[in-house]
């Protein structure tokens, strides 16, 4: 089976490292690139060709919401999963409106 290609974008290196470790344990998932803000993620998509972009909602530079809107417009084949520290419902609504396919709270329990 073809592995699921993941691009990881978060401005907190520690969080990125944690998620990378977590995903590396899952068979069939391959991390193809990492970015520390939305702009960098957008720049990487063309070459890295991810299936999924896991991206933090709040980043300096181009934030996750703005980047999601651009990704879903320019690369509709890429599914965006929004990462967030916030549990406020309005953020979830904003993320879904921007085109995110999912919303994941950072301290959620692992399955």
């Amino acid at each position: 089976m073809k592995p699921i290609r993941v691009l990881l974008a978060d401005d907190h290196a520690l969080v990125r490292a944690g998620i990378r470790m977590l995903l590396q344990q899952i068979a069939g998932v391959e991390i193809v690139a990492e970015a520390s803000d939305g702009r960098e993620a957008l720049g990487l998509i063309k070459n890295a060709r991810p299936d999924i972009l896991i991206m933090d909602i709040a980043m300096a530079g181009l934030n996750g919401l703005e980047a999601t809107a651009r990704v879903t417009r320019e690369f509709p084949q890429v599914r965006v999963i929004m990462l967030s520290m916030y549990t406020t419902p309005d953020y979830v609504v904003q993320a879904l409106r921007a085109g995110a396919a999912g919303y994941l709270v950072k301290d959620a329990a692992t399955a």
């Binding site: 520690l14 969080v15 944690g18 470790m21 977590l22 520290m85 406020t88 309005d90 950072k106």
Partner: protein
């Protein structure tokens, strides 16, 4: 009232006048005292300005601390939790200890969230007043075992950050008082924007209190909550009214004029 002195200087006076009546009961003149209160007025204005500056500084500091807590400590804790969860998957020998550790991280994260909320919720700047109040009231009510009825108008155009912060502080103070003293079961919070006035109403069905006695206590320095609320509201040209009767709940009514866009606490 404003007077002009002989040398042209403007002064503020407090005027006490009474009419002098003649023997037939007709007015024959006025006598009175004019007290120059220019200095007192100046001192009052200086005090008000100082008070505003202090609040501004305090809010700026709270905002900075909340950001730091959320962005740095919160994220580091999230990373720590993810790592512990990863370790838990592989190290069955230490599973129970890791589970405990994850529990500890969860508790700290909840405390950090609470601190951020009390200091200055970062969500207020992003989402605006109505969204954050609705979420905040529901969350606090749930914890205190209260039933909350929340009605929020989307505020368009958005009030100034100073008014948004003042509203949040009033709601925080009111909910703290309700939880601590009111023995209430229900709380109603309403935010309406009409004719360029923002109306905030907080009502509970608790035991109420003697608002005059509370105010006198506050004036003697025994409780700063009510005075602090009034001061914050006044600094953004708002009006606050507390209707409380022993045994019949409490209602706090605050009105803010929306044209007020002065640089004040943010």
């Amino acid at each position: 009232m404003d007077w002009k002195k002989k040398d042209g200087a403007q002064i503020v006076v407090n005027l006490h006048l009474r009419t002098s009546l003649g023997t037939n009961g007709g007015v024959i003149g006025y006598e009175g005292i004019a007290l120059d209160i220019t200095e007192r007025k100046r001192a009052e204005e200086a005090l008000r300005s100082l008070s505003r500056q202090l609040l501004e500084l305090q809010e700026a500091e709270r905002r900075r601390l909340a950001r730091e807590l959320h962005d740095e400590i919160g994220q580091a804790l999230a990373a720590l939790k993810i790592n512990l969860q990863t370790a838990q998957r592989t190290a069955s020998l230490y599973a129970s200890r890791l589970r405990d550790s994850i529990g500890i991280v969860d508790t700290i994260m909840e405390q950090v969230r609470d601190l951020c909320l009390t200091l200055h919720p970062p969500q207020l700047d992003d989402l605006g007043l109505a969204a954050i109040l609705e979420w905040y009231v529901d969350r606090q009510a749930q914890r205190a075992g209260l039933v909350a009825h929340v009605a929020m108008d989307p505020c368009e155009p958005r009030p100034s950050p100073a008014i948004e912060t003042a509203c949040l502080r009033v709601v925080q103070e009111a909910l703290t008082n309700i939880t601590r003293h009111a023995q209430a079961r229900r709380v109603w919070v309403e935010l309406r924007s009409q004719h360029r006035i923002l109306h905030l109403r907080i009502r509970d069905d608790g035991i109420g209190f003697d608002s005059e006695a509370a105010r006198q206590q506050a004036a003697r320095g025994m409780s700063m909550g009510l005075l602090g609320m009034e001061e914050r509201v006044r600094l953004v040209s708002g009006q606050l009214e507390i209707r409380a009767t022993p045994g019949r709940g409490t209602e706090i009514r605050v009105d803010f004029p929306l044209h007020h866009q002065a640089a004040a606490p943010q």
